[in-house]
Symmetry: D2
Subunit: 397 residues, 4 copies
């Protein structure tokens, strides 16, 4: 059982608290902080939390607080982490870790120096589907991962500070690309170095300074590609999908709009349908248990179990820092209009990962390029002559 101080009472603080207090959980949120005391008090009442405050510092230092959970706007992450480190308390910080790699690195160094347990609350890596998919990939079902696409798009975030580049650190890339980048990184392998990125970003619709749409490619040292697509201009709800291609298989995950819950209503139901849903009549696609589908439940389980066991959680501050570094490179590339290196002053993975190239001998003279069953029932085999490089084809019944 852990006693938690929740910093922040917005949508993310609500989802986190809903998760931690939901079901038959043994953990409790016993302190809550919000910038406005009134918000903290209301939230405390709603969730039956005994202590509320408008001081982040007080919340962290409250003797009741075992673990600090940061659900604050991006520009407040760093200071809150530093305070927790100073207080010597375990700290879990929502995504993105910093607004940039410099902030991320400072936070990483602070917790490591202080020796406090730290977890990076990257929930989408913890959805039950992603966890099972990652296990499947580790078990070899996809062979070598070649490409991982992660997509998060919706009509735009729900709070003002997201739209303010100074407070958030950017636009859709730092807000949602941080998820996508880390999802792809998990599938490709966290020990493989992300080498360089190319990124398109634009403000297509909203009257803001930050990008509301972006697509990026992250090239890993072993030749694998992590592709992200983010947008605050998408219409139809929240599109949250991952696709992974490997030499031996494929995985497609749909976390939100097509999960086996389909509904038509001519009259609506009043109220909330699902996060980022648009409209409440016609065909709708609700999600059964949102905090579970978004990974919050398994994320906190891993975090608190890891804390109990005194081992690293699946997502650490180091991961948050790597993500920040990749995002930084994306912003650079969007401006320079060329591939930009990912600058990692600290690299803890392996080096010199080789690319994959399949070279199966068909016979002593030829390599096999491909086999395909044709409409007439025959099998066509494409071969490459090992000495001349010439490509030819033969048929088998």
């Amino acid at each position: 059982m852990k006693k938690i101080a929740m910093l922040g009472t917005g949508l993310i603080g609500t989802f986190y608290t809903m998760t931690l207090m939901g079901m038959r959980n043994k953990d409790v949120v016993c302190v809550v902080a919000a910038s406005r005391e009134e918000s903290a008090r209301k939230f405390a009442n709603q969730w039956n939390i005994p202590i509320w405050t408008s001081s982040i510092e007080k919340a962290i230092n409250d003797p009741e607080t075992d673990v600090v959970v940061i659900g604050l706007p991006n520009h407040l992450h760093k200071d809150a982490v530093l305070l927790a480190a100073k207080a010597g308390k375990p700290v879990l910080c929502t995504k993105p870790l910093g607004r940039n790699a410099r902030e991320g690195l400072e936070m990483l160094e602070a917790v490591e120096k202080a020796g406090v347990f730290a977890g990076y609350l990257e929930d989408l890596v913890y959805t039950p589907k992603t966890i099972k998919a990652l296990a499947t990939v580790k078990a070899g079902a996809l062979g070598k991962v070649l490409w991982a696409r992660s997509r998060e798009t919706h009509p735009g975030p729900h709070s003002d500070w997201f739209w303010n580049k100074e407070l958030s650190g950017g636009g859709a890339i730092v807000d949602m690309g941080c998820h996508c980048v880390e999802i792809a990184r998990n599938f490709i392998g966290k020990d493989i170095r992300p080498v360089e990125v190319i990124c398109w970003a634009d403000t297509q619709v909203h009257p803001i300074n930050a990008e509301d749409s972006a697509v990026g490619l992250v090239r890993y040292e072993n030749g694998a590609i992590g592709q992200f697509e983010v947008s605050w201009t998408f219409r139809g709800g929240m599109d949250l999908r991952d696709e992974v291609s490997g030499t031996e298989g494929t995985i497609w995950l749909n976390h939100w709009l097509r999960t086996g819950f389909e509904m038509f209503t001519s009259v609506g139901q009043g109220g909330y349908v699902a996060e980022k849903a648009e409209g409440d009549t016609g065909w709708l696609f609700p999600v059964g248990d949102e905090v579970h589908a978004l990974g919050y439940a398994h994320m906190f389980q891993d975090m608190l179990d890891s804390l109990d066991a005194q081992k690293d959680p699946m997502e650490t501050f180091y991961d948050g820092y790597v993500v920040n570094a990749i995002v930084d490179a994306c912003y650079k590339s969007a401006l320079s209009k060329k591939w930009e290196p990912v600058e990692l002053s600290v690299w803890r993975g392996t080096e010199n990962n080789e690319t994959y190239l399949k070279a199966i001998d068909y016979d002593s003279q030829h390599q096999l390029i491909k086999e395909e069953k044709m409409p007439d029932g025959k099998t066509k085999i494409i071969l490459k002559d090992k000495s001349t490089g010439e490509i030819s084809q033969i048929f088998k019944d």
Copy 2:
């Protein structure tokens, strides 16, 4: 926090324990009973349960036991419930409640007489999708429910006793139809009396005495129809779907094979893919978190929260008894080849529910039958003359 005695260590005992001990739950399984002591011991070791026994009675009466959970084969439910009632302990019993309504009623009367808390572990009513769908229906999004289809089919159950009619009480109907019947009943309304049933049942494939396939219709007093389809002959995994039609809307739930997790592998991954999956290469459809998707997590939450609050859970022994009575009528109908009444010696719902018939006045002379937008862009309106009954059509641009 509750201390639980788990009776039974088969698949259902495993799923229940996995749920109760999973995540950051505050409850614990502290006693386990299996018919063979060796099984109990192994299970206790695996799940770190301090007390094991081959005696159901001992498990129930163990002073550590707060709550009795029955995950035993069907023929052992009644005696276990009677023992728990005698011991004055809260009891949760897996589905079906009895092998027939006579057993179900005896169990209902026993717990009520003893005044113990009792819950009917009908998990599929508690899947996150079903819970949200039921709330949606209650909020009026579907208007009046007219028809609810629930389907559960797979290649057959995993333990020998299921296939033995004497031990289980029947075949696919009692095994899976009990789920489907209660799902439909929840959508249509538990206070609406199920009046009569028609049922086809057959042994199509397996060399057994019980039915391995069945389809049934349950007619409710208000004219709504609950349709179930069950089979132990289905190929391709476990088909677990619900469909609900109302006057204003439609709900389709897919709990297993199409939930947004799609995967192709040419090599497989070794080991388990998903419950009742067939094969481990090609296109596969895993489920992220099986115990969650099957409703176990929310079911135990409701049961134990209700116990804490001293109120009835969503699914009670009375519900189990009604389901038993409906299933009994199905077996009768399968033999008699005609509609058979549902015999409920105890009825706790409302009486004299009227059927629905829409009679919207189009004008003083006509009722509206329907409107449709045609390919040429016009709207066709079908009307019924209120005095003559004559049907006519007009066009609007």
Copy 3:
């Protein structure tokens, strides 16, 4: 090349003409008849048809007419067929053949006596998906077919006469059940005798005399079940699905609402979205090529190619008659509330089809009931003792 007289200018006449005149077809509609001359003239103008008339007889007997296509309301089918037979001209009649088996038989006998080519325009058996699925089933991919469900539901038909029981012969069963019954019959095998039916039918919503909802089961001599579900009360568009289960496989076809075309629009597009679509904003599910998806294109190809080749088309008047007989039995069962025999005074299939029961020897002592891979990776095998009938289980790694 065939010159066609189109009888009827309603939705079905439009779809048929669109199909016959669409693409780069060599056939032409050169005569059109409608009850009101004005409608015929308009239709002729629209489709560039040289001859129009309000007389069915004139259209049939016009020297330009090679082939008669009947797209008329149900009560006019019989007379039109008799006129075509009398004229000695090939005739294609839309579904249902008659309003009942008596009419159907009279039409069958008329064309056979006259020796004219006759085709039953049961389009849904000809959808490209159904054609391929039927070929797949014939190739053995599903083993023996055990069950076929066909479902057609929408918010109600578009023309007044459908809602008039005298003109149409009934309600949703005769209108749409005729499709479903024939689809299931094709999957199960046309040479297998449909023995008996059980059917529920009700007027749940619309103020009419006929049924607006029904579910029926048709039992075939070999134990297979054809299940149909029809409704004029469905909300959300047109639900057109088939599901087939065999001993070795499964087929699921979705012809309308989920075919890989998904669209969200907040503003709509003006005009027609898809047949029976409700609303034109929000999530919509259009169909690319409706006449193709509904089977019209392949239906006319088969009909006219068969006429050219002087061989029976896939769907004959005999098939239409069998469908009428099954539908008649359904209406009888809905009233009698018990299984009713399918009365076929003419039976052209095989006799004494045996039911299927799998009895695979596991060893000399046991039959195999089932194998399943369990979560712990072991395989559980359920066996039946051949002499005692006792059921047991063993585990294999």
Copy 4:
């Protein structure tokens, strides 16, 4: 009715001939040419084509030939087109038009100089889904198109010459990217200038010189992005999807793997399942009518109807040239690792297309950034101060 000379007897020649001779078409293939006379003769026999030859020139100049259809490997397109132009005969050329823009331009100029009708056989723009989707977009249902993703991936092409960079002009980009680029261009608007591209390309798996995987972004003058993803390394069949995002809506098209035909078979069926299918047991996803789903039927209809009407088809040689120019820029970008301009020496669209930016006044002081319904039922509104640029939020019930 048109008499067609088919050049090429490989998979594409087969699909084309199947389409032109399929259904009740009035057109006929009356001449066929293949590089080996034996192949031409066999093909002629199979399809009942009266004239066969190993000379492309003879086929074109045969007096029977009304229209020349080029279904040859890429390196033979140009010469065949020049011969057709010289012969003054209408010519339809398969995709890509040239191996590069230089070839494409030469072909374009040749047919224009000769004044012959010319069509670019870009079938995937003609799938029934794409045609309807394009009409929907033109009708305004998506508002302004911001992004269009087109993806075509499969395990690799079926003929040797595809894998030979000299003969084909490249790898997966020139083979499949040409489809994707033109699909996106149709959605975004053919009159909008494609300005620049960024492209990643790699040889990830197969032992060849060309790229087997690529992702590219094409930026249009109005700010819209066309994104393509191509691969010859995909596992699981043929992934053929388009996604379009506009300011008011979204379209998702799945042309192959998820079109409403799902099938499980434990035994297979022998033979061909679908183009590029892998394996023939387990869950399979066949396509009902492949040539229709791939757009061949509607493509030839448009081509031959346009020829009859003496008007431009939907896809012209100019379109083929633009696609070649975009593909050329992609190859350049893949090497230079930066955005490269699309060089179009001939531009026939509009100039100076402005980008889209939404600036809706909320009140005199503020612009509306976004509205969202929150879980608590309230609506949150994000605003931007028109003078200060400050971003704020307010709540409405």
